[in-house]
């Protein structure tokens, strides 16, 4: 699961889910944009796609300083620890992984996303064609901020660092695949304290070639390689703990200063060669991050256009989002659209075994009311599928054919008129409380008798992730780490993923038919698998209804009037700083 800023996760439980759409400055109402993701020629790009320089942004111009407002500092900038999407969006300015996503703005305002080679010349070579051995070759002319060349061994060292227990905050995909074990650092604990500089399963051939060998097939490796785990770290520059604040630059910008919790300044890295980079730009002279501006303050500053060169990753203050959403002048200075996140009502299938009750919940649930309580359309669009519209192969369907506001009468019929007593658990926040009260009232119309249990918001995911929990249904969100069904359906709906605690499959859905289907699709090449995931999504919803999809999480944030090149990145779910420029 891709993590949004932790604060944002808390906010979703508390305030509003913010986001949706993806168009650049369309300035219209922004609702109903989700069709734009549906067609994709090719998800994985070629070596040609991977060549620099990146096509100029329309109107792109060099110079100036862009200021980002943010409440908290980036908890991590160390490539081994970066996981939260805003961290990686920023890290994307500073260092480069093996592969990356190339987002092309199409004339109709939509975005075409393609995985391309970043440091590597292409998105990886499936050496044996069985997805067990992946080989990456580095481009020529790659340099660090001090002018020294980027070597394959540095990437191996970067991956090795990710094995260190101290760096456990980052994603674990590649480590687990290399180790062939979920507990990836049981034996190899990184290059520290005498450990090998190259992790087991990785081989470095000269300065340009790095190979990853896995015990089992992992066709998603090109996508996993787009995470910061594969960013190069020269051993000599590894400052360990301090690296988290000031990583060594291989990208278009380098860190000039970083005062924790106060500010960070990025300036141009003169040794970065645009001809080696297919996705990044280097328009502003510098970026400045100012920390300590909360969501209300940030919204007010951007709303008044106090400084036209300002931008933020943060969403709009939920209390004001409606007013800003409906103000055409402000909408022109905003990015809005769906992110990779989807919010669900998980039905605990261990407890609610009657599929008709689950279907009745799907039918009776008033999603419009839920959306309204979260602040209306800016919070996100009403969902009906497990997979987000940003997923490759996404296909819209509605398994029950009821209006978004639900159909309590129909649900009542399905329940046979009997009263069903269920327990709803929710994270204890002001909006969480209101939503709970609303759910109780709305579902009562269909004959449900709902008991409300407040759970400490911070422990919420622990509680619902406990297999033995005593609740019948609860809300949670899921965001894919890369835009494939393989990071959505297997982790959340595969019965084999269920453990005693820390479950993502918090519907505890365990179905043989679905498991077989998952195994089949997992072996397919990425391009073929995409539509199959969508089909499975529809099958699960129609036949088993283990969840009630609620909203496709919406991103909605403002930026200053002098900022150009802003669009909602499908990769991060927020603005992409690497494309921004100042208009004057």
């Amino acid at each position: 699961m891709k993590r949004r800023n932790v604060a944002a996760i808390a906010a979703t439980l508390s305030a509003a889910l913010i986001v949706a759409g993806c168009s650049k400055n369309k300035g219209d109402d922004g609702a109903g944009d989700n069709g734009q993701y549906e067609t994709r020629n090719s998800l994985i790009g070629t070596a040609e796609d991977s060549k620099g320089p990146a096509p100029e942004m329309p109107g792109g111009r060099k110079g100036g300083t862009i200021t980002f407002l943010q409440n908290n500092d980036f908890a991590h900038l160390d490539p081994a620890k970066v996981y939260v999407s805003t961290f990686s969006a920023t890290a994307n300015l500073i260092y480069r992984p093996l592969t990356t996503y190339k987002e092309t703005l199409l004339p109709d305002g939509s975005i075409e996303m393609r995985l391309v080679g970043d440091l590597a010349v292409d998105p990886g070579k499936n050496v044996k064609n069985d997805c067990t051995v992946w080989e990456f070759t580095l481009k020529d002319g790659l340099k660090y901020e001090d002018g020294s060349p980027i070597k394959a061994a540095d990437i191996a060292y970067g991956v090795a660092r990710a094995f260190a227990p101290e760096a456990a905050a980052g994603p674990h995909y590649i480590q687990q695949w290399l180790a062939g074990d979920k507990n990836y650092n049981a034996t190899y604990k990184g290059p520290y304290n005498g450990g090998a500089k190259v992790p087991p399963g990785v081989t470095v051939d000269g300065d340009k070639k790095i190979t990853f060998t896995f015990n089992s097939p992992h066709c998603d490796m090109p996508f996993a390689a787009a995470m910061t785990t594969t960013a190069p770290v020269p051993e000599a520059k590894d400052t360990k703990e301090a690296y988290d604040s000031v990583p060594f630059s291989s990208g278009p910008y380098k860190i000039k200063s970083h005062t924790r919790g106060t500010s960070m300044e990025l300036v141009r890295n003169e040794h970065w060669d645009p001809s080696t980079d297919a996705t990044r730009h280097q328009y502003p002279d510098s970026f400045v991050w100012k920390f300590g501006s909360d969501i209300v303050a940030t919204t007010n500053r951007l709303k008044t256009d106090e400084d036209p060169n300002m931008a933020t990753y943060a969403g709009v203050d939920p209390a004001q989002s409606a007013a800003i959403w409906t103000d055409p002048a402000l909408r022109k200075r905003s990015i809005a659209g769906s992110t990779q996140f989807v919010w669900y009502l998980n039905i605990n299938t261990q407890r609610v075994t009657d599929v008709n009750v689950r279907k009745a919940l799907n039918i009776a649930f008033d999603k419009t009311h839920y959306q309204q309580l979260n602040g209306g359309p800016p919070a996100g669009e009403i969902a009906s599928t497990v997979m987000s519209p940003t997923t490759a192969g996404y296909k819209k369907f509605d398994a029950f054919g009821v209006p978004p506001a639900g159909d309590p009468e129909k649900a009542k019929t399905l329940l046979g008129g009997k009263s069903v007593k269920l327990t709803y658990a929710y994270g204890n926040t002001p909006v969480g409380q209101q939503i709970a009260a609303a759910i109780k009232e709305d579902l009562a119309k269909a004959g449900f008798d709902i008991e409300l249990v407040a759970v400490d918001a911070e422990r919420y995911y622990d509680v619902i992730g406990d297999k033995a929990n005593k609740y019948d249904f609860y809300i949670s969100g899921w965001g894919a780490d890369w835009p494939l069904g393989s990071t959505i359906i297997p982790p959340t709906l595969d019965g084999r993923e269920i453990t005693d605690q820390g479950n993502y499959n918090s519907a505890y859905f365990d179905n043989a038919e679905v498991k077989t289907e998952i195994d089949r699709i997992m072996k397919l090449p990425v391009e073929q698998a995409a539509p199959e995931w969508a089909k499975l999504d529809q099958k699960i919803m129609t036949d088993y209804a283990p969840v009630v999809p609620l909203l496709y999480d919406g991103a909605f944030s403002l930026y200053g009037s002098n900022i150009g090149g802003a669009y909602l990145s499908k990769v991060s779910g927020c603005v992409n700083p690497a494309s921004l420029f100042l208009k004057s």
Partner: protein, 340 residues
């Protein structure tokens, strides 16, 4: 509010018996020959502010505890979510925050519930919590104060240090940290937490921090009384500690205790509202004033929502003001010297 929550029992120049002081006190004392109780009642009756604050307090009681009846007459309840009266973004339709003949004070943003009903039910919550806390805190304070004052010595030393210790606790910070912990420890899982349990967490926090002021006050009074003739006399005639405490000491400290109580109630109302404002306090669906203000502050920038802020914040203000004024008047009446 400040770090501690000790109800204010100092000063205040209320109206009332002000002019007396000009005459040398010895002379003033001579010609007022009424009993203290009668005198207090006379002063209280004559004090217009006291009268009106008392009326306000009574009205608030009636409104808060008669809320179900008012709900019946008004034709609305505090739970119904009028989502049809909200736009797609959850904002109330119509004027201000949805003020109409149907909903006199408008409806809540987001949920669409009637603000007037939420408010008077919220008042009931606030007042219940404050009263129970005040009764408990004063009782606890009196007991500790009497023990410390009466027995003196090392018992007094320990209690006095403990009071200092409690007063050094940053109340607000501690309450923020402790309330969720109480909730976790006391309530088992998979059970809907009834409103009263929730409220009792707050009451518990108020009890823990609220007794110190009274204890200090009573301790001081008791130390003063302990050596007085009538107590000495009772002791000399062989009366036990219980007799002395209940028959000799308590009757003589009831006035400051009453004043303490009258000042503790508004202090707790304000503290409860502050905690709820910060999101620590009673939960939905139990209505609460501080939480309403919190929502109003968060949304005050939206068109017409100032009304929501004014109504909810004003309610807290009036509630505290009325209780404060009444407490002041009571204190002035019971202890004219305090209002020099």
């Amino acid at each position: 509010m400040s770090g501690t929550m000790e109800p204010m029992v100092t000063e205040t120049a209320g109206p009332g018996v002000a002019v007396m002081a000009e005459i040398p006190e010895a002379e003033a004392r001579k010609f007022v020959g009424l009993s203290p109780g009668k005198l207090a009642w006379r002063r209280l009756k004559r004090d217009k502010v006291a009268f009106w604050s008392f009326v306000t307090v009574v009205v608030m009681f009636v409104v808060a505890y008669g809320a179900p009846l008012i709900s019946l007459l008004y034709g609305k309840d505090y739970t119904t979510m009028n989502s049809d009266l909200l736009d797609a973004y959850g904002r109330p339709l119509g004027y201000l925050n949805g003020v109409s003949g149907e909903h006199w004070l408008g409806i809540q943003i987001g949920t669409g519930r009637d603000v007037f009903m939420q408010m008077i039910y919220g008042m009931r919550t606030s007042m219940t919590i404050s009263f129970v806390s005040a009764v408990g805190a004063i009782f606890f304070g009196v007991v500790v104060g009497i023990i410390a004052g009466y027995f003196g010595g090392w018992i007094d030393a320990i209690i006095s240090w403990f009071i200092d210790f409690m007063l050094s606790f940053p109340f607000l910070i501690f309450a923020m940290a402790a309330v969720p912990i109480f909730a976790n420890v006391v309530v088992g899982e998979a059970k809907e937490v009834p409103g009263w349990i929730n409220a009792s967490f707050l009451i518990m926090v108020f009890l823990i921090f609220g007794w110190t002021g009274t204890a200090r006050l009573v301790r001081g009074q008791v130390i003063g009384l302990r050596e007085r003739e009538f107590v000495e006399a009772a002791r000399a005639s062989g009366a036990g500690p219980m007799h002395i405490i209940f028959r000799q000491l308590l009757p003589n400290v009831w006035a400051p205790i009453l004043v303490s109580f009258s000042m503790a109630v508004p202090a707790f109302i304000a503290a409860e509202a502050a905690l709820s404002f910060l999101g620590i306090g009673v939960l939905e669906p139990t209505p609460d004033l501080g939480r309403l203000v919190g929502q109003a502050v968060a949304t005050m920038q939206l068109d017409g929502m100032w009304m929501y802020l004014l109504v909810t914040g004003g309610a807290v203000f009036l509630l505290v003001l009325a209780f404060n004024l009444f407490g002041d008047a009571l204190r002035d009446a019971l202890d004219p010297k305090s209002s020099r």
